[in-house]
Amino acid sequence: MPERSRLISRGWCVVLELIVISTLNGVLFGILLFLMASGLTVIFSMLGVLNFAHASFYMLGAFFGFQISRWVGFWPALLIAPLLAGALGAAVERFGLRQVHRNGHVAELLFTFGLAFAIEEIVQIIWGKSPVDFRIPPLLDFSAFTIFSTNYPAYKMFMLLVSIIIFAGLLVALKKTRIGLIVQAALTHPQMVGHLGHNVGRIFMLVFGVGTALAAIAGVIAGPALVTQSNMAALLGPILFVVVVVGGLGSLPGAFIASLLIGLVQTFAVSMNGSLDGAFGPLSPAYAQTWLADIWGVTVAQIAPIMPYVLLVLILIFRPMGLLGTRDT
């Protein structure tokens, strides 16, 4: 009897371990996505342009972080790289987007689209097409804690911590400072803010710069954990758009919920082995093994990477404005 209960409790421990680790990984991925999606959402709300080059700034952040950490170390890079990328973003807004603005939204969209390609090629020219060796700083290269028998790396806890600090800072800045109040107003009533005499152009530049700096910070901290390579932007770009569409274009809380949702869904889906074959078993229709074999036998784990896109399709069918969307697309 005690033997059986020990086996059962060991079984539960294994499941609990998997759930805890998956939650941590999922939340981490979600927060990283939100770092980028928040910038994208705010830029869209204020300037009305969906910045196709947003993931490229994430990539720039990673490469600037790599290069600067090679010269002066990781910790200065953490500070300098996002500032550099943000300055670049502000320059793009001032000298690029603002000129294109008078030609309409489509022109702005195409401009950012072209910018994304240009940034990718420039990165390839400077750093090559292979992954670069962006390492975790030795100070953080240990395991933070052990859950049952799995180690959780300290660097991932650091990523979580940095993201939370940044959000706390942003929240305070938005709610408590004067410029934050103006930005909040401009989010929903940009023309009114202009009429009231505030320098809307300067605010736009600031918002674009901060938004891209956020994406760049995500790049600097994700670079050592994920692969830093010139295809980074292309890999993460599509998921970013899924996040903003699912969350609702123009809604920051929506982007937050959507990021966490997608992060958790993608991570948990990997642990699930269910398939239609497993669910129906002997009740499967006759042609399940032949015509439908591919669909019937595929497990949730196998399609985990496309789950976000399935979510996108469902949202667009049932709730096109997104979970908490405030604006019509």
């Binding site: 680790i21 998956s22 097409k129 028998s149 010139s230 295809n231 990997v270």
Partner: protein
């Protein structure tokens, strides 16, 4: 008058181009040089360039200089066909490829159809690493030659070794979701069921090819299954990042792999502290004690700072030269006829044969483990200090498997 000058200039250009073309043998290297496969594609390219230099130092092939033409296919079958056409337009008559059986299938098909429609302008396809068995079975082609043991041969060798390891009780399979990964998992399941029915297969995972950068969820699943052994055909970035995630979470299992030695693999294994717990089946490793191989290894490391992961590429280039010498021509049809059935002294010692029926090369294979070295293992990998140690050798005759190939030969 101006038009005449321009016309003459173009004619001269064309003539000079043709003259240069006669003196070089161009080999198109169609493999990823960007994206997820770039880390291994670049190493492969440099290896082939080193081998071309080696041949050129001895006068080239029949007096002609060997030139490697790099063509980036981004591990994409459609892109590979575009690059193959580009190569053919540039006068290339030999293409070589290895990273991805998905690409290999498309290339083999393309080359076969092209040769059918363009007699006299045939192109040969030298496959140095794409090991889906179908390429030398149902989809075999006279124009395709494979220098790497196919997936079934490798799994046969691995499972024979695993038969004698009683500590394996729970086995986890994780592979890339495409033709090769599928062939690894089905061969593993069938062969293990026959040789060790007592082993419980506690997981059978497929993940997208070269797209995942964070394997933490997959490693968590391996942990949860309670497996003591993992069998994987993952290569390149997919293997390196999988082991990196295993290192991060402290996963301690034994790994039986095909491509643990690829770029990034040894570093990740050392990071995971898996001393002689990772095994690889390959046609050669640096520490086999063969003097000629040792000299080559030292020269390659001196030039490029990476170790030889492709003894099969060495065999391919050397046999190509030998076949051209035998046929006294670099015409693809004559070279192909000379290549099939050819016996050759392989890079790591011993003899290999290019079987005529299916163009599959059979050679001695080695199972090796990666870990701390002794004086018998002079070479380490990726500056980790650890190196490969032979655990078993399988003679060429023991690796032979039957084929279902019904090859259509040109008359």
């Amino acid at each position: 008058m101006r038009r005449l000058t321009i016309g003459i200039a173009f004619a001269l250009l064309a003539c000079s181009h043709a003259a240069i073309a006669q003196d070089t043998v161009k080999i198109g290297y169609i493999d990823p040089l960007s994206g997820g496969g770039a880390s291994v594609g670049e190493v492969g390219l440099k290896t082939f360039q080193f081998l071309a230099d080696e041949l050129n130092a001895k006068g080239g092939i029949l007096g002609k200089k060997v030139e490697i033409v790099p063509l980036d296919n981004k591990t994409n079958p459609q892109e590979s066909l575009i690059q193959a056409q580009k190569a053919i337009d540039a006068g290339v008559r030999y293409v070589t490829q290895g990273n991805g059986s998905s690409v290999a299938g498309a290339l083999s098909d393309f080359v076969t159809k092209y040769n059918d429609r363009n007699p006299g302008k045939e192109v040969l396809y030298f496959n140095y690493a794409a090991v889906d068995p179908i390429l030398t079975n149902a989809k075999c082609s006279f124009w395709h030659f494979r220098w790497d043991a196919n997936s079934d041969i490798k799994m046969e060798a691995l499972t024979n070794y695993m038969k004698g390891v009683p500590t394996i009780k729970k086995l986890y399979l994780i592979n890339q979701d495409y033709s090769f990964g599928e062939s690894v998992r089905s061969a593993a399941k069938t062969m293990l069921k026959a040789k060790r029915p007592d082993i419980a297969i506690v997981g059978d995972e497929l993940h997208p090819l070269l797209k995942i950068t964070d394997f933490a969820p997959y490693v968590a699943k391996i942990k949860a299954s309670g497996a003591d052994t993992v069998v994987t055909g993952n290569w390149g970035q997919d293997f390196a990042l999988l082991l990196k995630a295993a290192a991060d979470t402290g996963l301690k299992v034994n790994w039986y792999t095909y491509y643990a030695g690829g770029t990034g693999g040894p570093t990740a294994i050392k990071q995971a502290n898996l001393n002689h717990q990772v095994f690889q089946i390959a046609e050669g490793i640096p520490n086999l004690g063969n003097p000629a191989a040792d000299t080559f290894e030292k020269a390659l490391r001196a030039k490029y700072d990476f170790s030889l992961f492709y003894p099969r590429a060495v065999n391919e280039m050397r046999m190509f030269a030998a076949a051209a010498e035998k046929a006294k021509s670099v015409d693809p049809v004559k070279v192909a006829t000379a290549l099939e059935g050819m016996e050759f002294d392989v890079y790591d010692g011993g003899k290999g044969t290019m079987r005529k029926e299916d163009h599959q090369f059979f050679q001695p294979m080695y199972i090796a483990s990666f870990g701390e070295r002794t004086e018998k293992e002079p070479f380490d990998e990726e500056k980790t200090g650890w190196g490969w140690r032979q655990a078993a050798k399988i003679e060429a005759e023991q690796t032979t498997l039957p084929t279902t190939c019904k090859m259509e030969r040109p008359n």
